[in-house]
């Protein structure tokens, strides 16, 4: 194949076929995908969870991952948050003409590794090559499907007064890494994206803990935004202890330099879990036993004090709102 992705590769002709059979099937292939039918034939029964997401991250390569692995983790994590075992995925690539073939190989390869690790089959895919400028390098859409294994499924409107609020690890790693890489900033210590597939840990958690009320991954908008969504849908107050929220020193240092708040930065390998107080310790043990939940801890409690609001108890013992952001975090002026 040529060194650059040419328009021919999206034509549906021989060039496309070569790209699909040599690269995509090589990395993502399985019995169903290899049949290359117009659609996948799947066996599903009962309640399923389904989620789609489009990935346009800039830069496409960043410390801790790239757009290919991220496109897998993002979607399967969303499916798993419903108390489901992710089974199948589809992926659609939109590639800008002239994109380096080496880069495409790296992306598809890491996508292949991520789906294998997650135990998910890519059963349908699509590749389009568009003229230069029509997209920024490469965009990927993925859709995931999984079997829901708990009833009722965890949901954003199920947080109840008295519930414990847990997070699976440090906040803001992915967001700061992306921003730092994009702006070419170098921090004192290296920061790395936390992008990871959480499904194995989540499945273990929902299988062993009988009644998890809410599971969410605090992606765009970070912990603060996700907590506000939950407080709103459940009409409860989420009270968080600021000192208990884990943030890596290098992330907190980078944020303070840029005037950003790590609680509003995206995570791609963390989840928050809201459940009855009596299960909190057991859930933390399960989480901490897994590499991806090593830093898990309790960060707060659901109350009825200020319905719809997230209240932060500061290290001084004062209280303040942790509100939604209006738009992107802007650099400060002085």
């Amino acid at each position: 194949m040529s060194e650059k992705v040419l328009l021919d590769y999206g034509s549906g002709g021989r060039a496309s076929q070569r790209l699909v059979s040599e690269l995509f099937l090589g990395q993502l292939g399985n019995d169903e995908l290899n049949r290359l039918n117009d659609a996948a034939e799947l066996r599903v029964s009962g309640r399923i969870a389904m989620s789609t997401d489009s990935f346009t991250v800039d830069p496409i390569f960043f410390p801790g991952g790239n757009i290919g692995s991220l496109a897998v983790h993002g979607t399967i994590n969303d499916v798993a948050m419903m108390g489901a075992i992710p089974r199948y995925m589809t992926c659609g690539y939109i590639i800008e003409e002239g994109f380096a073939m080496d880069d495409l190989e790296r992306i598809v390869t890491s996508m292949g590794k991520a789906v294998k690790k997650a135990g998910v089959c890519v059963v349908s895919g699509d590749t389009k090559v568009v003229p230069k400028g029509a997209v920024d390098k490469i965009f990927i859409n993925t859709t995931g499907v999984g079997d829901i294994i708990v009833d009722p499924a965890p949901a954003g409107d199920r947080a109840a007064t008295g519930d414990a609020i847990l997070v699976s690890g440090t906040m803001g790693d992915h967001g700061l890494t992306i921003l730092g890489t994009r702006e070419g900033l170098e921090f004192e210590a290296a920061v790395q994206s936390d992008s990871a597939g959480l499904n194995h840990l989540l499945v273990k958690l929902v299988q062993e803990i009988p009644d998890i009320h809410v599971l969410r991954d605090p992606t765009r908008g970070g912990l603060a935004t996700t907590m506000n969504e939950i407080a709103g849908s459940s009409n409860v107050c989420c009270e968080l202890n600021e000192s208990d929220i884990p943030v890596r020193p290098e992330v907190s240092g980078g944020c303070s330099f840029l005037g950003l708040d790590p609680l509003y930065l995206a995570n791609e390998g963390k989840f928050l879990c809201i459940l009855p107080e009596k299960y909190a310790e057991q859930a933390l043990e399960i989480m901490r036993a897994d590499e991806l939940g090593r830093d898990a801890c309790r960060v707060g409690t659901v109350t009825d004090a200020n319905p719809g609001k997230v209240v932060l108890v500061t290290p001084l013992g004062g209280k303040r709102l942790l509100n939604m952001l209006e738009g992107e975090q802007l650099p400060r002026i002085c």
Partner: protein
């Protein structure tokens, strides 16, 4: 610098002790004002505000440079953004400040104006070098803290021989604004927490008049809760003793004499002038204009911009908020019509504006 160095200034035990002292020594209401957006945010973000005794009234003064930028100045840079051949370079905070008809730079950008959000004014020089057929105009908004860097950028531009870099000089200086506030009967200020950043440049001397002419204390203060509480305790003690002092409690960052080198750079390019402050109006000697020797970089001269006083935005009480005459939640528009998503006035726009801080942090 490692953030652990500041740990003791956030120590909950120390803060509790200072709060107890404050409570014990406070014999009547204390109305204190901070005039720095970083203090506004620090007081809320640390949760300190919810812990202050009831008798301590916290007023957020005109300490956010975005907020005090006058309506007519906002209109001037919006008009400039729409001119052909101009690239506006600005810090991000100005993007959403509303001007005439609620229009802002974000809207202008969506309509095709060339606007570049930068992190350092030196980035504007690169922008100018990369776009030789365009004029790059940097929006000079900020206090004494920012102005020396802008001056240094202009000096650098001249050294590099850039002829297409200009500054729209809307900088403000703090001391004269404080005397205007002390003369205003609606504010009733007992003492000032003086800005940490501005004071690193100007030092202690320019604030002397607060004690000598107005018999009020004013203290240069750091941004951690222990810093702020210590200054409040000092303020109350001195009042109890019947004295007024202007002092520096932030010696770990601020020298009493300020930064002479920064002032030298600042005043080699700028000179004092009268300036319009939003909500307050004209304050003599509170602005910085570009000296004649640097006229080639003055966007006001280049584009014949006239700063005319325009009526304030209808219904907006930002002016009274900026003077500490009302608190943000006393404005009828607050949280109802005026929100960070659709700000009516500038105090809701900037992350360091007092209305935005109330909206973001205050538990009802």
């Amino acid at each position: 610098m490692s953030i652990d160095l500041f740990k003791e200034f956030r120590d909950p035990g120390l803060c509790r002790g200072l709060l107890e002292t404050l409570n014990k020594e406070l014999d009547r209401e204390l109305r204190f004002m901070e005039v720095c957006g970083t203090h506004t945010v620090a007081i809320f973000q640390s949760g300190l505000r919810s812990l202050l005794p009831e008798k301590v009234v916290h007023l957020s003064g005109p300490g956010c440079p975005v907020c005090v930028t006058h309506e007519s100045e906002v209109n001037a840079f919006l008009d400039l953004a729409e001119r052909d051949g101009v690239i506006i370079a600005t810090f991000g905070d100005l993007m959403r400040v509303p001007g005439h008809g609620g229009r802002n730079l974000k809207a202008a950008q969506a309509d095709g104006a060339s606007i570049s959000v930068i992190y350092s004014p030196f980035d504007a020089l690169k922008l100018a070098a990369d776009n030789p057929d365009k004029k790059v105009v940097f929006l000079g908004v900020g206090f004494e803290t920012t102005a020396p860097t802008i001056a240094a950028t202009m000096i650098m531009a001249r050294k590099q021989g850039l002829t297409n870099f200009m500054v729209l000089p809307f900088h403000k200086t703090v001391p004269n604004a404080l005397s205007t506030l002390l003369n205003d009967a609606s504010t009733r200020i007992d003492g000032f927490i003086l800005p940490g950043h501005v004071s690193t440049v100007i030092g202690l001397e320019p604030y002397g008049f607060i004690a000598s002419d107005y018999d009020r204390s004013a203290i240069i203060t750091g941004f951690e809760p222990v810093d702020i509480l210590q200054s409040l305790v000092d303020m109350v003690r001195w009042r109890n003793e019947g004295i007024a002092r202007v002092t520096n409690n932030y010696k770990r960052a601020v020298s009493d004499t300020g930064n002479a080198k920064a002032r030298e750079i600042l005043y080699s390019v700028f000179e004092p002038c009268d300036a319009l402050w939003r909500g307050i109006g004209l304050i003599p000697g509170s602005g910085l204009k570009i000296r004649d020797e640097w006229k080639d970089m003055d966007a006001i001269a280049e584009y014949g911009i006239e700063i005319k006083e325009v009526p304030p935005l209808p219904g907006c009480r930002c002016g009274e908020v900026l003077k500490g005459a009302i608190s943000p939640d006393q404005c009828p528009l607050f949280k109802k019509v005026c929100t960070p998503a659709k700000p009516v006035g500038p105090c809701m726009v900037s992350t360091e504006g007092s209305c935005a801080a109330y909206y973001k942090y205050k538990v009802d």
